[in-house]
Amino acid sequence: MNHYYGDYGGQYVPEILMPPLQELEEAYEQYKADPEFTSQLNDYLENYAGRSTPLYYAKNMSAKYGIKIYLKREDLVHGGAHKLNNTLGQALLAKFMGKKRLIAETGAGQHGTATAMVGAKLGFETMVYMGSKDVKRQLPNVYRMKLMGTEVVSVDTGSKTMKDAINEALRDWVTNVSDTHYLIGSVVGPYPFPKIVRDFQSVIGREVKEQVMKIEGRYPDSIVACAGGGSNAMGIFYPFLDDEVNLFAVEAGGEKLREDDKIAYHSASLATGEEGILHGARTKVLQNRDGQILESTSVAAGLDYAGVGPELARLSETGRVKPCYITDMEALEAFHELSRLEGIIPALESSHAIAYVMKMADSGILGDTVVINLSGRGDKDLQTIMDMED
């Protein structure tokens, strides 16, 4: 089995995690085509998650920016983000594998919330690790997780964000391998996670393909998605990889593209990171000269991560996906702009993708028809926005 995407990927994990990774890979290959598994998953996607989601023509925004802009409405998925596509798939897989307990990391709290939902629905004991900095800035999601019976563990080490939450989740998994499934929230981590998460998120791109054909009679010129770990990006890009469609992965430019020995004042690992090993995969990593991982920065907790999925790193190396970035300030402007123009309040993460389209609409590089993956809704970010306006 090839565990790599070009030079990226692999399984850089403690020996204890080799048996569960092998077990997961085998179970996934067995069940992904199993009629009972797929029919249950499709039922959940339709009746629990609320799929399919609309491909919405943003008329006012299009008029203002002079190109046709469509929004893939993942913000309308139950829970408010694309994350549930993945958690439903993985939790069902864990159920078929006979696991009793789910653990997860979360940045923005959206993946944690989506894990809490499936934990409640499918009867798992559920524990979510969350950096203490993220607990503070995404409190509504912390409360939502608790309401659904999930234990939220605040992680106070390192940068106190998603990177450290993943460390803690890995330590938990190493300790509780036999009955626990680590429900990783993005296309990161050791193989087979990047593949499994990408496959479960690809429902986004498959729907777009059908929808855009129906409306436009052709594929869009460009697809734009924000990238933290890269799951909403891989999910919408993957079905289009062999088509003539430009793919843009928008990372968090944070305050500015600057680093010191400890801190990156951004989270643009595709655009500025260098090859390294983080959380079980070889990928693009924000690191210093020695290889110590930097603390990343972004106004969007879900993008605030020093690594990125290995397949996305590979696709950006080959030039198939174009990495780009948007600063905190630009993302905040887009947050307000979309709210006012379309009556849709986007997540701060998704605001990065929107900001990029607003910024580049005139340049011609996007073509005249664009699909933006609106990966989540902004309710979770209202406190952050209010604090910033004080």
Partner: protein, 257 residues
Amino acid sequence: MRISQKFEELKDKNEKALIAYVCAGDPDPETTPSIVNALVEAGADIIELGLPFSDPVADGPTIQAATCRAIEAGMNTERYFEMIKDLKVNVPLICMTYYNLIYRQGSKNFVKKCAEAGISGLIIPDLPLHEADELIEICKEEGIDNIFLVAPNTSDQRLDAISSKSSGFIYVVSKLGVTGEGKNISSNVAGLLDKINSNLPKAVGFGISNRKHVEEMVAAGADAVIVGSAFVNIIASKDNVISRLKEITKDLKEGCR
């Protein structure tokens, strides 16, 4: 000194090896040499010196905290090798670190520096055997041992593969979990030791923190015990560190006789 030479010496004396882990640069780079000297003086047979990494996923809170202190105090890869070069102890030194620090320098470059500094072996807890082909080749050329880990859930097939590719010794992880002082050591370790089909010495680590644990592991068939968090906790206490390190080292070593 080569690791194999140390084990031969100990075999002649009918003793087991005490392998002591501390984190280089904890509490600061200036103090580490005196800590290493104290451990060796009091009877540690092999020193495992951690090169601290920002994200040590195989370590529990005790060693995580040591790692933070060391990085805060200015420990880095360059100083690590300088420190090792200046150490004047006649025991094998092992570098324990995470793979990104090696990868970043270029494996060849890193291993060369290890050899020049007098390091005898490498332990990399996040580098499983099937990702290590290149590093194993380089280490062979430079005469550095690759110490791989096996765990209670490692399959027989992997046990055999790991035994055949390891050199120096085999690191037997006593429990499913991360490093840290434990109350009890699992009684299943003896079974795991039995299953490992190799001429290499077998060293048991993770959770071993007192004389009783050491004696149990020796009785279970271990050729060596690896103790880390118990030392690191003393260093963290800042209370009479050197004399307490010596005292516990002597006691643990007694358990190896």
